[in-house]
Symmetry: C2
Subunit: 383 residues, 2 copies
């Protein structure tokens, strides 16, 4: 196979620490399976780069990254210290901008966040609620509430008006909904292959083997709510094997807590997906385990980007105690994705997932050093 090339961007805070373990696992897997895999490390985007050059990354950053098959990102968002007026030197809007720039620049129109409560993961819900949590939340990642259109009229004056425009296209709606149905079908197939059977109880009380739940707020945000609803109905005809459901976003959040087992694949808009994925992450054990995949499934010349959902956690950075589990699950997801071109990578991804899951099951979420967790997982990979 042609060599697969990864751009590794460790970022800020605990980013470099957890990325170091990901790289060790990649090295271990490469040696073991003789994988055609290479990676290059970038010092940006980062707070340090910003301090030196006045911008989070170089002007040609996207052009440089485009040469790679995937981007593996640690964490962004270290705001730096506060200045004299109690403002952070680097507000979120600047330090996190590269995330949004990559999603846009590479048209990573899917954000996929699996949420499965694995043995050993931290459990927040009571036992009767925390059972059978295994959902995939798919977030529209290219438009909607995130188009950054709007402004502030009479800024700072008592009669100021701030506007923010939401823009949704049928084309992007259709592709994300179709992607959701395809994933539901794929997940059902994988369950059969793995000999796991699973009957989802739909939210309206039926039983089904796979399901897509569309989330909107169509009773208040009518225009795109109606368009989403219509497209969902149309696309569903191509997937008679997949059951469908529709929830309003407020009710969906409630039901994530009340009956998470009822959800299989969930499709939502950019902002509503942002909210639902954080909630789903916490249901599956919290930020310590949650991967996030920003995918462009249509253009093979555009790299997809993989990051743990957690942030840079400046408060614990530099102490060697950050949990690399989410980063390693993210890395496994990346390998699986890259397996579309090189099946050996998908196999390596599965091995990595299994090793991380086994470590989690054995050790739970007890406090261990970052490198100790990396050691344990590398040892499993070598075994």
């Amino acid at each position: 196979a042609q060599t697969t090339r990864i751009a590794v961007t460790p970022g800020d805070g605990i980013g470099p620490e957890v990325v170091a373990e990901a790289v060790r696992c990649l090295e271990t897997l490469r040696a073991k399976h003789n994988l055609a895999l290479e990676w290059t490390r970038f010092p940006w985007p980062s707070h340090a780069w910003h301090e030196e050059y006045g911008e989070s990354w170089p002007a040609d950053a996207l052009a440089q990254l485009k040469a790679y098959d995937a981007i593996l990102l640690g964490a962004l968002g270290d705001p730096g210290p506060m200045d004299d007026t109690n403002r952070y030197l680097l507000p979120d809007s600047i330090s996190l901008a590269p995330l949004l720039d990559m999603r846009k620049g590479f048209d990573q129109w899917v954000c996929e966040r699996p949420a499965r409560l694995l043995p050993g993961a931290r459990q927040y819900l009571k036992d009767d609620r925390a059972k059978d949590i295994d959902m995939l939340v798919i977030r529209e990642n290219s438009e909607g509430e995130y188009v950054s259109q709007g402004g502030r009229l009479r800024q700072g004056k008592p009669d100021e008006v701030a506007t923010q425009m939401e823009v949704f296209t049928r084309r992007a709606t259709e592709r994300i909904i179709r992607y959701g149905f395809e994933q539901a079908r794929k997940r059902a197939g994988e369950r059969v292959q793995e000999g796991r059977t699973r009957a989802f109880r739909t939210l309206d009380g039926r039983s089904c083997e796979s399901q897509v739940c569309l989330v909107t707020k169509r009773n208040a945000l009518r225009y795109w709510g109606d368009m989403y609803t219509e497209v969902f109905e149309e696309v569903s005809h191509d997937f008679p094997d997949v059951a469908t459901h529709h929830e309003l976003v407020d009710a969906a959040c409630m039901k994530f807590v009340q009956c998470p087992w009822a959800f299989d694949v969930v499709v939502a808009s950019n902002l509503q997906g942002d909210i639902l994925t954080d909630l789903a992450a916490v249901l599956s054990g919290g930020m310590g385990v949650a991967p996030s995949c920003n995918l462009n499934p249509t253009d093979p010349h555009m790299p997809s980007m993989f990051e743990p959902t957690h942030g840079s956690a400046p408060d614990i950075a530099g102490q060697g105690i950050a949990d690399p589990t989410a980063m390693l699950f993210t890395t496994a997801r990346m390998l699986d994705w890259l397996g579309r071109k090189d099946p050996k990578l998908a196999q390596a991804g599965k091995e990595l997932f299994d090793a991380v899951a086994a470590d989690l099951a054995e050790q739970g979420n007890q406090q261990r050093a970052t490198s100790q967790i990396g050691d344990a997982i590398c040892k499993r990979l070598q075994a």
Copy 2:
């Protein structure tokens, strides 16, 4: 005192059933304390009215309701049966419109939803998370994402574009944030009065006696996010006794589950508040206990509206098994509000709250008939 007049609108589904218990409690309290309290029942807004007259309520509905001091609403949103093309006869957008019309027509610019996990309420979170849940979520209720501006260009065509505008004014931002701070101060005062001390642990690790947490998504929805942030900072100077915090909405949802005890008063936009209040409701026992108050604190000629957060639950309607607890907590909240003009009503509201809370503590959420719960609470009120 002048007679206080309430418009009672039972609505659809279980609405009339739970409202019947509320009215019995009001009768009991009126007789006991000789309250200057009257109410009038309206057959609209409702599904039945819509069927007969082709609209959810008469054209002069708002004008009629304006004559009252408050509106006590049961539940709306019975979609009716499906038609031949699998569409509901009365979609949410029609059946629920009166809710939004009342909020707008009476400028009920605050939506206040207390979430306190009382003994006996259903608990979804594990014990180590479900402790000390006692927050008040305050939702901006007059603008923002709910202005209904936007449309569908090339509707139904492949190149359709749907837009939805969010509009925020500094004036409405200032009043809702100020209201939040006032409530934080009031709650702290009440705790002192009741001899309950409470140290909130702020999300950034300090301890404080009262707190307002502002929620936005300023890193993605910048324009109003920045305006909210600036106004929050300005208003906070008038409340040096109240600690402040800021969360992004995705993180806020996560922390509602991870550390709900860290929240005191939460202020959020219309849509984000909608989401957070449903989540807060479930943390405090679910829809069965959650009240919702749509308030106009500034114009005494505009009635405020009180409704349980739950819907019309058509699946269990007519069986006499709906739990009236949320409705009764809502009624207690209404009396408390009306107590601003007639202190005897506030006292009656407190009695009702205590009776409902005592019933909940004793009986938990076991299945009982609607009227049985009403009986038990009326008996407590008479005692």
